[in-house]
């Protein structure tokens, strides 16, 4: 199964960044986890002669060992930090205000930042073994027989049994943001459970053993599945029906004629190869030139003579200059990676402005057979933005996507807005302040014989949950919350403070909302 190019699958820690100070902790963890790697490199350098063929024979092993060391050291370091943080404030379940002054929200965000780097590392390789190892070190009950490689799993308040199979793109959440509240509840999944693709497990769900959940099913908050209660006779004995009643099956009558169902917004590869390769080549060359020169200079002048070539290991620790270089090397690497990212962002801005100057971006509908200037310029812009977006979202600094897009000028994101690992629209997107966007799709264009380009406007304090599809032309006003797997239609307007679900979307009355999420939000802080 191939996985999407632009997002990271696997275990997941929130991108919520309550305070920018947390980034220092993130950099500290990266720094601390690279130090053991240098020691290992030193040992390898001393044992194996660099000019022999044996050196190159062992190099791939070396890379695997470095990867394992990085994973284990980063996990242990973040585990220690988590221990300290938990001493200051014990993590607990409940409903909290989504507010910087709320201690639980503050520390929830801090814990997510601390776990970010080890989780990012474990997602580099598609293997459940590494992910289970990481979860085990971070103190989550799991088993190596669980297949969790492509589901988004929260990394706290989760208990997993044995032989669990989690489908592609599904989210297992123990924390959820809804209408200005943060809900944290423990999720327990027992043995032999199969969870279908693209489904959503809400906080507090308890799934009994041997259950099967349908694709695209959504559970209620605090829902408990009893294995015996929902047994379907039509099916073989091994399968137990437990599709939730959160979404009723869609009836034909529910589809209104005017609510044109929104469709697929994927970029199409237009064969403008010379343009693509020259711009990509230019961005790639310029962004890598300084980092590569820097790394060569640093290695030749400082790292090799003072660190790797010192006669014995204790010399590195005793000699002040060697020791300083030993400590600075990881920081220098982080600095170079950031320079690479910033250069990409800067050059993208220049290119974007040039294309905008030649042919300003316009919204509208374009026919596929009638390829005019606007049509072509649209592809040029999205090609350039795609590389920048890909580069940032894949990097270990996913928070940069917001300031980067604000800087390039294609999108606008307000203050305190959080964007998780999601399929963000590259242009014509306006998001207000203090909003939260989960692993969802914000589409500014769609294909149904024609290409329709229309911007999305999202107001303040909007919470969009996982696996939602926001179609082109959607306007979401302040205070709206979207529950998981809701789909908006083209040119839809969601007004006033409300919670919406379903496909096509509809607003939930308050009694229904309480029935579905099992809680009355607003007043009960201590639950």
């Amino acid at each position: 199964m191939s996985s999407p190019v632009s997002i990271q699958d696997g275990p997941f820690a929130s991108n919520t960044l309550v305070s920018k100070k947390f980034l220092l902790i993130h950099i500290f963890i990266i720094w601390g986890s690279i130090l053991p790697v240098i020691i290992e490199l030193y040992a390898f350098w001393k044992v194996v002669d660099e000019n022999s063929i044996f050196f190159y024979f062992l190099l791939p092993f070396q890379i695997c060992i470095i990867y394992l060391i990085l994973i284990i050291s980063s996990a242990i370091l973040s585990k220690i930090l988590l221990g300290i943080i938990n001493l200051i404030h014990q993590p607990k379940e409940g409903i909290f205000n989504k507010d910087k002054n709320d201690k639980d929200y503050y520390f929830w965000s801090l814990r997510a930042v601390v776990k970010k780097w080890p989780i990012w590392l474990s997602n580099l390789i598609p293997s459940s073994f590494i992910k289970n190892l990481m979860l085990k070190i971070l103190g989550i009950r799991t088993d190596y027989s669980n297949k969790i490689f492509s589901g988004n799993i929260d990394v706290e308040f989760i208990e997993l049994g044995k032989n669990i199979i989690i489908g592609q793109g599904s989210s297992i959440k123990s924390s959820m943001i809804l209408q200005g509240h943060l809900i944290i509840k423990k999720v327990i999944i027992e043995d032999n459970v199969i969870i279908g693709s693209n489904s959503f497990i809400a906080p507090g769900t308890h799934i009994g053993s041997n259950m099967t959940l349908d694709s695209m099913s959504v559970t209620k908050i605090h829902q408990i599945f009893d294995p015996l209660s929902s047994h379907n006779q039509n099916l073989p004995e091994e399968i137990h029906k437990s599709s939730s009643d959160f979404f009723l099956n869609l009836n034909d009558g529910e589809l209104k004629k005017n609510s044109n169902t929104s469709l697929n917004p994927e970029d199409k590869f237009v064969k403008d190869l010379t343009y693509n390769i020259t711009t990509f080549g230019f961005i790639y060359f310029c962004s890598n030139f300084i980092p590569i020169l820097g790394i060569i200079y640093f290695c030749k002048e400082y790292f090799f003579p003072f660190c790797l070539n010192s006669p014995n290991f204790f010399q590195i620790l005793i000699n002040i200059q060697s020791f300083l270089i030993f400590l600075i090397t990881p920081l220098f690497l982080i600095f170079l990676i950031l320079i690479n990212l910033f250069t990409v962002i800067f050059i993208t801005k220049v290119f974007y402005k040039i294309i905008q100057y030649k042919n300003p971006a316009i919204e509208g509908s374009f026919h596929w057979n009638n390829k005019n200037q606007d049509f072509n310029s649209y592809f040029k812009r999205s090609f350039i933005l795609r590389y920048a977006k890909w580069k940032i979202q894949k990097s270990s600094f996913p928070w940069l996507i917001k300031p980067a897009f604000n800087f390039i000028g294609n999108c606008y994101f307000g203050k305190k807005t959080v964007i998780e690992n999601s399929y963000v629209a590259k242009e014509f997107l306006k998001v207000g302040e203090n909003s939260y966007i989960g692993k969802t799709l914000l589409a500014n264009h769609l294909w149904d014989k024609n290409l329709t380009i229309k911007g999305i406007t999202i107001g303040d304090n909007v919470n969009i949950s996982d696996n939602c599809c926001i179609a082109p032309g959607t306007e979401i006003e302040n205070g709206v919350s979207l529950l998981p797997l809701s789909v908006t239609s083209k040119y839809e307007k969601l007004t006033s403070i409300s919670v919406s679900i379903h496909s096509p979307i509809k607003t939930l009355p308050e009694e229904e909302l309480i029935r579905i999420i099992n809680y009355r939000l607003g007043d009960n802080r201590e639950d």
Partner: protein
């Protein structure tokens, strides 16, 4: 029991010992790449001044990147051919245990392809992945937009001008309790699959058909030509003009 009554679940099966298989692949492709790197460096340093070599390092690094990725693809393909010679992949319903030969070899193929395709996600140009998909036995053309979707590792046929939405899942295999179903999925020319939708094994999507966002098809479902299908499970709605 009709096969359409079965739930659409997932096919995220895997084996932990597959890491070893992946490591062998990386080793096989990294070893020649590093040797080539040294060879080229020694050759060029005789003729070309060092400053020029340093200036063009980004270019040469993307070259070595390319060599590594192509070698990885080459060895994956070789390995795949060997696996397929030992046991021919076939459709059907099998037991979900390692004693079943079909399931075991499905796991081997899956593990190999998933790793190679994931590594291709890290190539600077994302379209390199289309090449990898083609070489690893998935029928797909270069003018499709499929990069942000999950595509199953075999028994998938994708026509010209097909667009798959972000997060959509094309499954040609599925878990049914203790059983495992493998059936071919065919997406014909010009069809569109909406974002976050799931295609079950055995689905045939006719030319120009559209599946809406956030809907899924059942096993063996047939989507009519030039019509829009929406819902969970998908139902025919109207003709697309």
């Amino acid at each position: 029991m009709r096969i359409n009554d079965i739930f659409v679940t997932n096919n995220a099966v895997e084996c932990n010992w597959g890491l070893l298989q992946n490591f062998i692949l990386v080793w096989l492709s990294l070893f020649p790449t590093s040797l080539l790197f040294v060879l080229f460096y020694n050759l060029f340093s005789l003729w070309i001044p060092t400053i020029v070599i340093i200036c063009f390092l980004p270019v040469s690094i993307v070259l070595y990147y390319g060599i590594f990725f192509l070698l990885l693809l080459f060895f994956s393909k070789l390995y795949l051919i060997i696996i397929n010679l030992i046991h021919k992949p076939k459709e059907g319903i099998f037991k979900r245990s390692l004693n079943d030969k079909d399931f075991l070899f499905f796991l081997l193929r899956r593990n190999l392809k998933r790793f190679t395709l994931k590594i291709y996600n890290y190539f600077p140009l994302p379209w390199a992945k289309l090449l990898a998909l083609r070489i690893l036995d998935i029928k797909i053309s270069y003018n499709t937009g499929v990069l942000d979707s999950y595509i199953d590792s075999d028994f998938v046929e994708i026509g010209n001008n097909v667009i798959l939405g972000e997060g959509s899942i094309i499954m040609s295999s599925m878990i049914i309790g203790n059983l495992f179903l493998i059936k071919k999925v065919i997406l014909k020319d010009g069809c569109t699959i909406g974002a976050f939708s799931v295609i079950s094994p055995g689905t045939v999507v006719e030319e120009g058909a559209i599946l809406g966002m956030g809907s899924y098809t059942q096993v063996n479902q047939y989507l009519k030509q030039n019509s829009i299908h929406v819902g969970r499970p998908a139902k025919s709605w109207e003709i697309n003009k």
